[in-house]
Symmetry: D2
Subunit: 379 residues, 4 copies
């Protein structure tokens, strides 16, 4: 392990690993520092939805970012398989956002209109259509928006693919290492101070998910980010119950490979506690069974939780520090970390290489006034 | 491993091991044959309740047997700790059978009367009493029968204690071994035929729980026994939510050591499938939370299932084969296997030693007419 | 679940599932009966090598069968992905059989000659070659036979792919079900007798791996088969240590996806006990580290064992019962179960459909004299 | 959860929990803050030896502290069972330090002399004696020191007992919470700054094991402490192979309840990485089998690792901060954390209550000159 790098990435989750991978492909030397084991927190807890259209239901910079990132997956899939042997388990069978009430029907139809106006595919499915394409769904589903280009991956496999790709390109990894502070000289970052000593670099990226708050506070960047626990569970079935990802009001149901179905997720704000509660399991089971009654007979597998970083305005932070040069932040992806990971890697690498960025990226600026202005302008 | 034994026990669960332990204490040579690993089926799935009074709500031979067995636990506890170092985790804090309706109140009060008439302790607790002794119980519990002498153990530790006690006394064990048939000559059992070869003995005890059916059918003993799957789950709490075992109409809630709480059990008849279903977990969680709302915040641990052997008249089979001498059966304990294991060991050992047995034991005879007659006489 | 099938397959491991899948593709109705959970025994314990050339080092029917089966994998891979979404993780990077002694060098060079004479690719690698292609191997490896067309899959994924493919085609599954006997009438099989009752069929295939012995004995087919325990372990590395499967004298080292390396396997004959011993782990670790010293720093993952069915002449049993029509046997695959699973499915389906089989198939006949004659003739 | 406490303990392992428990028994209000889950690091990884005599082989303050702490266990055992229902699994069957060489024989005999001179029991066992008391030990063991009063507990159960005892007395716990800094005003600690906000207290105890370094550095207390990884494994046997804990030169072998045997531990300095390596497992297995050959047949269970805090002079840090009042440190227990946990709780509580401490406690002072002086004086 060297002691000087082009870039040090603080945080070895899916975001940090995507950034490292992008930088290494561009020829940089990179060190990733992770407080525990890499990819063991939210990155492995996620259901892996690529819900550009289902999660982002209004126009704006996030919708653009999400679509762009989603569209990177097919080639990323091949690239990671080629470089690392990791299969990210990309499934492109679309996503179905369900409606139980007439109000929701109306709302979804408007979403379809706006998405079509921006060139996305989105189709209204009637109760009869749904009966055809997903016959196991409950009759309470009276219609739905089908986004054929949304899909899903294995969140852990994707995160692992980025990390193994980064390793294969010569990236260094330091696990079980807390970063306690940044080394800053004359308004420029010089590296980080970790439990194991100091490590030097031209650039530092803070990509520690919900745990980024600590370092950001030290830098007087108060981003108003907070942790939100999401509990999930999985079951196994011999035959597929559904083919598309189901995006319901209270939960989502994601059919993975080998008969596994993932159901998520609760939203418990302001806690880093990763324990699953009896109530969380009970709540999710009740909702999932109500939408997909055939789930009752599925074999219970296990429950788990992850801590997602939410921001006050719902947009991630992707930017350079306002006053310290060489210091970048990439966090706040909330439920979109998997979806946004490929574009985040490229965008942060562009920033580090001081490439010009699209104006819309200011919506994700660390400066709250900049982002607010941009966001309002875009609406 | 020898090839000739005083007794071969077919089935290495809690019942088989208790019998082996009793016989070895009496000086016999014993071989226990188990199809998989010992104590891995229903014996380790059980919640470990010693519910002599809560489970058996009418007078008769089963009530007598249950009380006798329960009263053996304090000395058994010390004996197994001394001989094997295994702590069976005996907790003697009583059991509370709850009532939500006036009908149930009436029914429980009658149970209290009959149990007191037979010398057992049983106390009626009003809503106010319950508020005092178990303040976390829901207000829907309007009263309850408290049986201070009922208790609980760790089912797996008890089963393991019997097995380690038997091993320490020179008992032989053969795991991963299917018994395919009995060796019978001139109306007398001579041993068993297993996948690994033949093993000879003076006596054979069939103690294979729900899986005993196969051998019994071969012997033209059609006992009308059937398997009943019971699903359970466990949670962890930092502080005790309850002190007594709660015996509700739909489920039971058992506070174990180190903050673990076990909740059981569904009853799915006629299946040997040990998988837990999403429905089973959902059903149990809903009921348990309704009785003990504080469970909501408890940390989810895991879910599992066991297959219990139920009989058509609800009484276990503890007896000698009507025509083949040296052949004994001990199964059909359903939800009372843990409770009845100590007395079953002793009773079967008595039978093998041809000691005279109490008349009431005929209620558990393999001969259905004998047991029916006795049972009716007792009522 | 119906009560009458074209074929009942007894045994839900990789062999049974491949047969069911082949039959279902041909339009039959099939029931698979498994004593425990499907694919949980040797089928999920195997390292998944497709070692047609490394395992079979002399000409004969087994070599032909092995090559034919191996060559089915590329299209099977696509077919199962298409039908079931299961990725069997086929890796076709070849297999390297290592030599440490001059005797072994000589032996391997002869194997190369015979294999080439039969049209297979096989290349001799010198110490210098090996230093180039697998630089992490120990210097004690003085040469090796490289078979570029041998490869590997995930054994569990392949077994699961067959089963899910069979389910998707309408195959029925009965897990946790012991088969206790066959129903035979007038020299013809009529079905099976299971714990849950009788099930009827035109044909029965016994495909229970090492556990087939019990049913075979009932049929007076004494095949001289015996169980051999194989213990394995896995480790994880961030960077690949090897690219090819290493087939050494005492163990094999299989580089799987996502940095996992599998090392197997001990050979403990005449036991069904699936427990891993301290000695087994120690023995394997010592040998694997001696061949691949870089393994020392790899992260320990876990150890497990499987029970493989070995036959006295080392050839599997693939045939029809000599006297009972409609009764077939497919077992005894020992360490080649994964490799031979696709061809076994097709061959047994051909037999059931009474298609003409190649003469060489008599080498796998249930009739020991037939197979011996054939085998000798072929050498 | 309150916002002001008498004492905040930073670190929820066995040491932090023992301190919290002692303080709560004395009537203080206490908050324990733990970065992950309580008792999941070294506290649950330890083998639980109470090796006052085997680990500490020269006179001095550590030997006195160790003996005093060990002698607290019998009453602590009863107290925790009474208060919390946790059984710490105290086994008092002594410890056998083995010798393979004449040099080691000589060394151990001198240790026996010094220990006896201080009133401890210590017995020399010849090869013949060992043959009698531990017949399964290898013949290479030519003698040994037997310390009958040394013993063992379940490390996790003890840690859990302290924590549950503290909870039952009203102690508050905050898990998944990093402490990033101390609040200090006018030379006095006022609380801590955590990710979740500020928490106030009269006293703060840093008891974070190897992870304490970060906070200590902030305080300019450079204690020269470093992490040492210890890898362990466990096996299961049906019959006990040994009765005493075996303390060999390279490893220790600890017979726990229910047939479990723990073997530890490697010593890998300067890493917080908790992964077990293939080399670690191989190294331990080889050594343990060489001492106790019967271990070969034992069933492999699992391997794990813990990070122990070692100090440059081998003595723990138990003291008050030299300049900041109200600030205490309790760490650096290395392999003696379990053994020293009861006395550490009491000693730190005494310090907080400003009770007079024995002069010898200066050996554990945070001031390196004080401790060195004392230590030299004592020798």
């Amino acid at each position: 392990m060297k002691k000087h790098y082009d870039t040090i990435v603080v945080g070895g989750g899916i975001i940090g690993n995507s950034i490292a991978y992008s930088l290494l492909k561009r020829g940089q030397s990179v060190l990733v520092i992770e407080k525990g084991e890499i990819n063991r927190k939210a990155s492995s807890a996620a259901a892996g939805m690529l819900a550009a259209q289902a999660e982002v239901t209004e126009a704006g910079p996030l919708f653009d970012l999400a679509r762009k990132s989603r569209n990177m997956f097919p080639s990323l899939n091949e690239e990671l398989m080629e470089r690392t042997g990791v299969d990210i388990e990309l499934i492109q069978k679309g996503m179905l956002t369900t409606a139980y009430t007439n109000d929701k029907v109306q709302e979804l139809k408007e979403v379809i209109d706006f998405q079509r106006s921006l060139g996305e595919e989105a189709v209204w499915l009637t109760r009869e259509d749904i009966q055809q394409v997903e016959p196991n769904l409950s009759e309470k589903v009276i219609g739905g928006m089908y986004a054929p280009r949304d899909g899903q991956v294995s969140a852990f496999k994707l995160a692992s693919g980025f990390a193994r790709g980064a390793s294969a390109l010569g990236g260094d990894y330091l696990e079980f290492t807390d970063v306690h502070g940044l080394l800053i000289e004359e308004g420029r970052v010089r590296g980080v101070q970790a439990l194991q000593g100091e490590f030097y670099s031209e650039n530092v990226v803070i990509a520690g998910g919900a745990w980024s708050t600590f370092l950001l506070k030290q830098l007087d960047v108060n981003l108003g980010m907070y942790p939100v626990k999401g509990e999930c569970f999985s079951v196994i079935t011999a035959l597929p119950l559904i083919t598309k990802t189901i995006f319901a009001e209270d939960c989502y149901i994601v059919p993975k490979r080998e008969g596994r179905i993932l159901v998520g997720a609760t939203m418990v704000p302001h806690t880093f506690d990763e324990k699953v509660t009896a109530d969380g399991v009970s709540w999710l089971l009740e909702r999932a069974i109500s939408i997909l009654p055939a789930l009752k007979e599925a074999e219970w597998e296990r429950a788990w939780a992850g801590i997602r970083p939410q921001t006050t305005d719902g947009l991630p932070y992707l930017g350079v520090h306002p006053t310290i040069s060489g210091l970048f932040v990439a966090t706040g992806h909330y439920r979109n970390g998997v979806l946004l990971s490929p574009i985040t890697g490229e965008v942060i690498a562009d920033m580090i290489e001081q490439k010009e960025l699209p104006f819309a990226m200011q919506a994700f600026s660390l400066d709250l006034q900049t982002r607010r202005g941009l966001y309002e302008a875009s609406n």
